[in-house]
Amino acid sequence: MTSIELVCPAGNLPSLKAAIDNGADAVYLGFRDDTNARHFAGLNFSPAKMRQGIEYARQRGRRVFLALNTYPQPEGWQRWQSAVDNAAELGVDALIAADIGVLDYASDKHPDLNLHLSVQGSATNYEALQFYRDNFGVKRAVLPRVLSISQVKHVIENSPLQVEVFGFGSLCVMVEGRCILSSYATGRSPNTYGACSPASHVEWRETDQGLETRLGGVLIERHAEGENAGYPTLCKGSFCVGGNTYHALEEPTSLNTLELLPLLLQTGVSAIKIEGRQRSPVYVAQVTRVWRQAIDACKRDPDAYTPRAEWMQELAKVSEGSQTTLGAYHRPWQ
């Protein structure tokens, strides 16, 4: 079995340290602006903090990837260009980008910079992967969370580059990089602004029918008294279709593929990514620790591997709505 890299989120320096101290092989992070898809207040790194983070990782033999995975429009282009230059100067181990213009600039200006295709690049098939390798020398791609496990295997068998998949965390139901539901309601999308269902457009209203959460004025969820009110991510709301009110797109749930780990390793994935740069250092520490143990156990003896009950409990505690799913990897979910 080939080695597999555990790639963990770092929204700030304490999270970065938590990831590394708990067994991440690599961390991914972003600058403090709209050049990355976790553009949230108080999150991410200044160049000085990033330098510290890179040093911390290096001293321990781990890698640091920089996410630069939003889509610049001409007006903001300079910001993305500077971010690429800064990343090269800081010496990150890889740049994770989505936009063709950004990839073109990076490969042109910094030919030695290692490039990964972000999940926001929406590449779901090996012909698309070939495009990014031929044109920019991309070495690895993160697959959108839309493929079944057998489709992942097929992509890897034919892929000209390394493949990274999501293992755990908040679940996008839509193909990443091609979902603009958020900007339809708010004017801001992951592609343009680096955030989905941005907090600036969220309202909480107490009404006679319960606590309502709205996004851009659109009613996303109605909570009965005493019910836990979650964040109104647009695709996880309750809507009416054909006279029924239900989670028409997806339940508030997180992806958890711990039980698929032996299969994922068999497919030949190069890395497993944990979602959650917006989460706390405690989340990062807990999730990283569980996944480190699981990967090590699975590599030692894949046939005897089963996820331990305490791992599953630990992960359920930090999951959206305390629920988890196998998502698209499991065909019936689709």
């Binding site: 590449a123 070939q130 489709q151 193909v175 539901l181 809507f239 009110t245 689709q334």
Partner: protein
């Protein structure tokens, strides 16, 4: 400016499709995009049928472009894509980077689901053989103007100007889910919703439309009032996205306004009567997509 008709985004019975295009042949659209772009299980029209239809429409003088799937997952889908990309006669609308890769060196159009957000992206695609690009629907006229300023020679610009907005694609079929069916046994329920299945917020606000694995806006994006601005911005092609009723009338209205034979407010009043829900135009103005800036017919009557 030319007028184009985008691919049918819904699943209609074969006869309805053939009748629809018989009408299109008589209409003033210049360019017709043909093919299934949403779901590979929709096979009442097979690739062979689309190619025959392409020949028929080409014979009537229409420019035909073959459209391709936006979300490619299975190997069978790649096989079909290869067949379309190697048709040897018609240019192809690539709706995924896999199609861009296969069209390298051959003339192609990038559809609205290919993320062209800046002129550097456009320049690279032009080196691959791009002849025309469709502005991603969430981008504003301001961004369009900036991209146009750096547009490579020989590349045309097309704008999605009428229709329910394509907002998202998923592995999951939401139409099947609405019927408690798995995708693998969907029973082709999207045949029952020729303009998509409406999704409302719990306070009855009409919000989205489910079209199989695609999510659309409930409201119809309408840029009839912006044709003059598009002309100034150097837009070459204005796209109408088909709906199940009165598309020929929509084409006629756009055509007349473009020719200066009808004013846009009269045109808008007529269009709004034909929309499944109502109009929106926010994206064009840099607002939330569901916003509506052009005055509605009802407001104009006050």
């Amino acid at each position: 400016m030319k007028l184009s008709l985008g691919p049918i985004l819904y699943y209609w019975p074969k006869q309805q499709v053939l009748d629809f295009y018989a009408g299109v042949a008589e209409s003033p659209v210049d360019i017709v995009y043909l093919g299934e772009t949403i779901c590979s299980k929709r096979t009442l029209m097979r690739t062979e049928d689309w190619l025959q239809l392409a020949d028929k429409l080409a014979d009537t003088g229409k420019e035909v472009v073959l459209s391709t799937l936006a979300l490619l997952e299975a190997d069978s889908e790649l096989k079909r894509l290869r067949r379309i990309c190697s048709n040897g006669i018609y240019p192809v609308e690539a709706n995924d980077m896999g199609a861009v890769q296969l069209m390298q060196g051959k003339p192609f159009v990038s559809g609205h689901s290919v993320n062209v957000y800046n002129d550097r992206t456009l320049a690279l695609l032009a080196r691959q053989g791009l002849k025309r690009w469709v502005l991603p629907v969430e981008l504003s006229h301001k961004t369009l103007a900036d991209i146009q300023a750096g547009r490579p020679d020989g590349v045309e610009t097309e704008v999605f100007a009428y229709g329910r907005l394509p907002l998202a694609y998923s592995a999951r079929c939401f139409t099947a889910r609405a019927h408690n069916l798995p995708k693998d046994d969907c029973q082709y329920r999207c045949l029952d919703y020729p303009d998509g299945l409406q999704l409302k917020a719990q306070d009855d606000t009409r919000f989205l439309a489910l079209n199989g694995i695609q999510t659309q806006s409930a409201h119809t994006f309408n840029l009839l009032s912006e044709l003059e601005q598009m002309r100034r911005l150097g837009v070459d092609v204005v796209r109408i996205s088909p709906q199940s009723h009165k598309t020929e009338k929509v084409i006629e209205i756009f055509s007349k306004v473009m020719a200066g034979e009808l004013d846009s407010s009269t045109g808008n009043a007529l269009l709004e009567k034909m929309m499944p829900t109502g109009p929106c135009d926010g994206y064009w103005h840099g607002d939330a997509g569901m916003a509506q800036r052009a005055r509605t017919a009802a407001e104009q009557m006050v």
